[in-house]
């Protein structure tokens, strides 16, 4: 909380005292020169998406997205430095160059994409929507029955804006309790400071696993917003944008084509489908086109983490504590929204 103020202060100071420069390719060049990708992930309390293990090694869905990008750039998933950010500190951290990319459940919105923020959202990795969690004992079944509720919410999010919109639209009042540190906020909800806790559905499911009695809480059926979550980078570097976008697309394509961690080598050896041969670098050109370390970047990524569906099931799916259904986050051929432009 103090840190993010310092960060914002640095962002401001960078304007006042920093050098004036903006060349294309500068971000990717800087990343390559440094030898590591700096990836902003949520603080250490977001199960499924990003958590450090006992040895301090980060794992989770968002974490693997960054490692996949590192493979594309360096052909090495370990060349990532993870920087924990909060909802408030993430944007100053990105603006300042403290991180190169945010992989932190950040929603792609018009104002973040344009205007004073000037960020880029190369590809959507998760289709989410805002949801509301209530203690079971309150017997609330619909978000419409929440008039007068006290609501725990994180600042600097689309969440707090949608919340205000939703209550306004339905002529209800509420009282926000706004705490930046997710752990502190969840504790306040757990202790009963708030009647309800709101966040993106997936994040809420993740937070529920950390409550003292997860079973005592239900997530209401309404989704009160659209939250397309995407890795976020600064505007102004087309090459870096390409790498991030086509890393995500490679994961999606792999699932569409049935390429998995287990069979990727075998498929690469035997595939006749030209789309698959291009994707896996059997036929050269695609990796070079996006500026990746080599043409086999997709193959290396899938070998390391599997395709999109495998990553989803490993960290977020029905067999994890989060227990998420694929829903919108399924391949378009299976009724979901995941649809990658052709790699050709």
């Amino acid at each position: 909380m103090i840190r993010n103020f310092v960060l914002a202060g640095l962002a401001a100071a960078a304007f006042v005292f920093g050098p004036t420069a903006a060349e294309a390719g500068r971000d990717l060049d800087a990343i390559k020169a440094r030898g590591t990708l700096r990836c902003g992930v949520q603080g250490p309390s977001n199960p499924g998406f990003g958590v450090p293990n006992a040895q301090g090694v980060w794992g989770g869905f968002n974490v693997e997205v960054c490692r996949a990008i590192a493979i594309a750039i360096f052909n090495d998933p370990s060349k990532v430095e993870f920087v924990p950010v909060t909802t408030q500190s993430r944007f100053p951290a990105l603006t300042n160059g403290e991180v190169d990319v945010l992989s932190s459940n950040t929603t792609w919105t018009l104002t973040r994409d344009t205007g004073v923020n000037r960020f880029n959202f190369p590809a959507i990795v998760f289709y989410d929507g805002q949801a509301i969690m209530v203690p079971r004992r309150l017997n609330v079944t619909s978000a419409r029955g929440l008039n007068g509720a006290t609501v725990c919410v994180q600042p600097g999010t689309t969440t707090e804006l949608n919340l205000a919109d939703f209550f306004r639209q339905h002529n209800m009042t509420f009282r926000p309790v706004v705490i930046e540190a997710l752990d502190e906020l969840r504790r306040a909800y757990d202790q009963g400071r708030c009647d309800i806790f709101t966040n993106d559905f997936a994040a809420l499911a993740a937070q529920r696993t950390l409550l003292s009695n997860p079973r005592d809480h239900v997530i209401l059926p309404e989704r009160i917003s659209k939250e397309p979550l995407a890795p976020t980078i600064r505007q102004g570097d087309e090459e870096f944008t390409n790498i991030v976008a086509w890393t995500v697309f490679a994961l999606i394509d792999a699932e569409e084509f049935g390429i998995t961690q287990a069979n990727v080598d075998q498929i690469a050896g035997s595939a006749t489908d030209p789309r698959i041969r291009r994707l896996l670098g059997v036929e050269p050109g695609m990796g070079t086109a996006i500026g990746a370390a080599n043409d086999q970047y997709a193959r290396t990524i899938i070998k390391a983490f599997g395709n999109y569906g495998e990553m989803f099931e490993r960290h977020l799916g029905v067999n994890t504590p989060l227990g998420l259904e694929r829903g919108h986050n399924n391949i378009w051929t299976k009724g979901g929204l995941l649809y990658a432009p052709p790699a050709r």
Binding site: F17, G18, T20, A22, Q88, F91, L138, V177, V178, Q191
Partner: protein, 392 residues
Amino acid sequence: MSTIETPPAAKTAFWNDPVKRGLALQSILVVFVLVVVWAAWNNMSANMVARGLIFGWDYLGRPANFAIGEGLIPFAPTDSYGRALFVGLLNTLRIAVVGIILATLLGVALGVMRLSSNPLLARLVSGYVEVVRNTPLLLQLFLWYAIINALPGPRQALPLGPGMFLSNRGLKVPWVEWSPALWPVIWALVAGIVGAFIAARALQRRREATGDAPPTLPIAAALIIGLPFLTLAAQGFPATLSVPVLQGFNFTGGIELSPEFVALLLGLVLYTAAFIAEIVRGGIVSVYKGQWEAARALGLPAPRIMRLVILPQALRVIIPPLTSQYLNLTKNSSLAVAIGYPELVHVSNTTMNQTGRAVEVILVFALVYLTISLLTSGFMNWYNGRVAIRER
């Protein structure tokens, strides 16, 4: 009678003349500061232009679209960012004013107690001071917040008295519902306070002249409480009391002190009071022991010696460091970000994040803090001047 001719002053080089040298150095400094500010401004503009940004205040007028938990004036998401920041500022002032008053009262009491001849009391206080001064304030805030949040929920609230409820939603107390009929009462209160001041001065003058006068306190109290009461009575008590009742999720009616406010207030007051206690103790110890002995020889009882002889002299040692404690308390109130009390920094953070206007928001907030600090120290310096020993 001989006149002494003053010899014509030998011409000194201007760098040996302290006045001229001072002037020259000051001017160089001013020019230097101006150049730095000008360069910084230019650089900032260039940077912002390079990124396609336009420095501007237009965001202040746009709707904020977020809600704020509590404030001295109403705030709805349709209100502007400017108003949101103002709500934050009022919340900062609210915690600072209440905090400073309570921390001063507690700090003075603790400081005096630490010098008590009762060893148990003195030890207890010194233990308190050491523990509180040597743990981070942020941790203390988390502790208080967790304790308050561990209270039962609103449906099991602890009744503290008629219409008063304590729960993890804060402290609810009955409150007079506002109506325009209450304006005369407010004016009566103001008149009462002014009257009390005038009366106190007159009494003081009489006491100094004749050595005797009726006690000030009852008269002042009668004015301050009596006048508004009479005004109320004359209008036939137009006020209605709003009493908290449980409705739906929470209490409605009355006013509430939120858990965030209470936790922050507790934390700031207990922390700052420990420092103030040390300052007060140091001030008292600095008064020459002969003053005690002389006062005792006059037969004054100890509490009056403290109040009439020692504290007034200790004040001039106490006030300068006390001022910095007041400034600290005000600035420390920004730690409230951690427990969600919506003061200026909290609202600024959110505003910055939602608008992306880091430079503009930081400028606003830096200026506001600077102003608060200057006003506080200005006032304290003025007060210090008044209590300073006047050489006669």
